[in-house]
């Protein structure tokens, strides 16, 4: 295990960079918030950004291997449950349970 000062420094460096990226753009963009272009973007960005994050999570799917079935089935269950019941927690837990079950039993890599 790496030494303690290094481990703490790694956390502090990461935290500073992350917070900076979250906070500073507000100062820079503040004058722009009233513009019609920024308002146009702000109503459409949430849906698109979520779609991009889903694709990002699935970016390393092993498309040619049988174990691709675990995330695929889990995704289908998540979408199916959500379209059916509209209960976010149920959809997330259901999909995750299917993934853990398949990945740890039948589709062990």
């Amino acid at each position: 295990m790496p030494d303690t000062p290094y481990l703490i420094a790694a956390v502090l460096v990461t935290a500073a960079v992350t917070w900076g990226l979250r906070a500073l753009p507000f100062a820079v963009l503040a004058p722009l918030r009233a513009s019609s272009t920024v308002q146009y973007l702000s109503t459409r960005m949430p849906a698109g950004i979520m779609v991009i994050l889903v694709v990002y999570c699935l970016r390393d799917l092993p498309l040619t291997e049988p174990r691709v079935l675990a995330p695929s089935a889990a995704l289908a269950v998540t979408v199916g449950l959500h379209l059916w019941r509209r209960n976010a927690l149920l959809s997330i837990l259901g999909g995750t349970a299917v993934h853990v079950l398949l990945a740890s039993t039948v589709l062990r890599s």
């Binding site: 917070w19 507000f26 272009t37 702000s42 960005m45 849906a47 970016r59 979408v79 976010a88 999909g95």
Partner: protein, 224 residues
Amino acid sequence: MGLGFVPLGIAYGVLVTHSGVDWWWTALSSAVIYGGSFEFLLIGMVTAAAPLGAIAVSAFLVNVRHVFYALSFPLDRVRGRLGRTYSTFALSDEAYALTAAEQARSWSSRRILWLQLFMHLYWAGGATAGALLGSLIPDSVTALDFALTALFTVLALDAVRDRRGDLPTPVLALLSALAARLVYPSQMLLVAFALFTAGLLARHVMTGRNTTSGNTTRRKPSHA
């Protein structure tokens, strides 16, 4: 909804313990950094004793997507200096998704802050529990990381449903993501966000700048 963070945090904690790092580091990193996707990558970097400069550059590249959130996160509704400071600190992807969504337009400052605080606690609590129990838990529990995919899937379905009739937006996002994945996989998120933003801007110019924003009954937009 932030409860999805508990299984995800557990997966993170278990991974850290299984990499041979003490449990306190999980508690510290999950509470102080609070940026899940990079924390998963950071485990590999610290166990390989990567230089701090390399960690800073990687953190910047993975988290630079947050710059886009400043365009639509409702920070103007959060009151107080301390509240605003915390709100920007705890601006995770999930907090952004929940607070920038259509149904959150009427949320008060308190409601936004409590939501962010609870998500932060779920993440740090799940991670610490996972780290403490890590040695008792089999490796297969790392499959819990699917909770992140499931969470974004649910948020995407809700967000797309909120903008009924606006099919070009999710289609444009999907194409941007796939193009970024194929052309620039190492910086996929940043490239995808940039393509998507550029596409939206192009569409805005093409459909006429006088289109009222946020108006779901507006005329059918042309494809960008």
